[in-house]
Amino acid sequence: MFQPEAILEAFRLFFTLEVFYWMAIGVVAGVGVGAIPGLSAATAIALMLPFTFTMQVAPALGLLIGLYKGSVFGGSISAISFATPGTSEAAATVYDGYKLMKKGQGRKAIEMALYSSVSADTASDLVTICVAPPLAMVALKFGPAERFWLVVLAFTLIGSLSGKHLAKGLISASLGIFLATIGSDPVSAVPRMTFGVWWLSGGIPFIPFMIGLFAMAAMLKEGIKLLRETEVVEKVKASIVDGLLKSGAGLTLKEYVRCWKEMLIGFSLGSFVGFLPGLGSTVGAFLSYGVAKQVSPEKKIGEGVLEGVAAAEAGNNATVGPTLIPLLAFGIPGSIAAAMIGAALMLQGATPSPRMFKLYPEIVYALFMILLVANVFNLGVGRIFGRFYARLGLLPKQLLVPLVFMMATIGSFAYRGNPYDVLLALIFGLMGYMMGVFEIPSAPIVISFLITPMMESNLRRALIISRGEWIQALFGSPLSIGLVVAMVILTFMALKMKAAEKIAGVQGETEKSSDQDGKPTGP
């Protein structure tokens, strides 16, 4: 698996001005996006995805990974500044972060969020680099039946773990399967499910699908909220931000070291949660926060202490690297952001699969380098501009919504120059908005949409090999049976983790808190 020539080639791909330039832009924009309530990493990556088409592979990855890492940290800025998490990942940061802010220690809290995010992120990236290649080697031994079960395992986990309601998560996953069947039959290339519409015969393109579901739907939600409410909170926020910008002392080394236990909890749990498809960084943050609170009751986490910020922020950022493990090792994205990074790789002609380590090792190694170096950029940008990003929370939504909507429209068109892509993005925007209203999670639909072709082709291949014998095709090898058993155990374990998160009494607040202004939602 270790290929020195590929590593040299990866260095050549990575050490260019263009990569560093786009990575810096990604982090700067990502922290900004994270700091603006209503925008998320998914929105930002979806908007930027069409533009990566014109770039080389390494700068494209630099931009997207920079955006992803930056936005996960950026969410903490508005969470600490005015108890409005910029992203749902940062909701757990509100509890202690906002209380620290009120005590006049806002700067300290933001710096703790930054350092714990970067520390846990770097450690979890190293885990990714160590775990993904051996897993891909194992996956290379899989036949069609095993690959089929692997995809079913991903469906089960993603469907049952995303969102608050099991049935709704599974509806979302099934909807993804349904949408993926629109287009042509993969074996015979005969059109199916096109309803006589010629421009659907190529299937639903991924970019307009993502832009609609994440950028347009999010902006529709904000736009409709604006049409419903006229409440003005900007003045209150402005005074808070002014206070934050003036607020005194920064974080000391002693304070940082004091939180080692919470960061370790965040790193371990976040890495594990990130590796499991469907759970995501919000669960990573809440789980770490809940466990840290139970492990060290004497530290009074929840009452405005740095340890609470460290646990939550380490927990969410530690999911960033490991969420790429299933993508790189099996070709199965573990989260929305991983699905989009996978789509960017596909646009570049490097489809994620276990064979990626054999076919494009230089891209994988360059990706690893970007994962690590983006943390340095995140640290630099956060350290220098962190407090000033809080001002972005004051950006009027009346300007933000039209701007993002216009960029989403242009982005869906720019990708292929096909006007119907814009129409599809708008339709998926409405659909995404309605899914939000019904509380149907959007992660399963995206991931299942992306992996359904893999499931279908592997099932059909397995049946061709077994000459139509279903039992032989599906349960013909010990590895297949092992995967079915693993599916049951992992789903059970993950459901237990989710239950533990509910017991901590915080999950229900996740989405609620992201919508609230001016008051903390903590216990």
Partner: protein
């Protein structure tokens, strides 16, 4: 006792509506000839689409009977038709903007679209709306041009330096 409108808003009601729509769609699929057409590996063309619809139906039926059937999604509870129609109007206006923009040009149509969009969302200062619309258009045009993506020049074709 819940009123019929409230009943339709809870998970049970949603599951019921979804199930009805999906049963109708399943019947439509079963009646479509292409669904039963066999391809060379023995599968019918409609096997996977029908499987997806059946899965959707099963999980929608679960919504009707599961322990959380009486719960109502927060956003659905607060759902109001008028703002939602405003959202639909945004989508329709964006499509119209896009169609006209392809002919007239990005630099001409975008400020107009943004101006009305910003005003529609509640910023009632025309001058501020106009300045913001123009600035946003120029910044986005510059950014796209810088990364090598040409936006529709429309009637300004040949006049623009980029």
């Amino acid at each position: 006792m819940k009123r019929p409108r409230e009943l339709l808003k809870c998970n049970q009601g949603i599951g019921f509506i979804f199930s009805l729509v999906l049963i109708g769609f399943l019947v439509y699929l079963e009646l479509s000839p292409w669904v039963h057409r066999e391809v060379r590996d023995g599968f019918t063309l409609g096997f996977f689409p029908v499987l997806a619809v059946v899965l959707l139906l099963i999980f929608s039926l679960i919504l009707i009977v599961d322990p959380r059937r009486k719960e109502t999604a927060e956003d659905l509870e607060a759902f109001a038709l008028k703002p939602f129609l405003g959202g639909v109007l945004i989508v329709g206006a964006t499509w119209l903007y896009f169609v006209v923009m392809r002919t007239v040009g990005f630099l001409i149509m975008t400020p107009i679209y943004l101006l009305f969009f910003i005003y529609f969302l509640g910023l009632r200062l025309w001058l501020a709306c106009a300045v913001s619309a123009v600035v946003m258009t120029v910044v986005v045009y510059g950014a796209f041009t810088a990364i090598g993506i040409k936006l529709p020049p429309g009637i300004l074709e040949g006049i623009l330096p980029f």
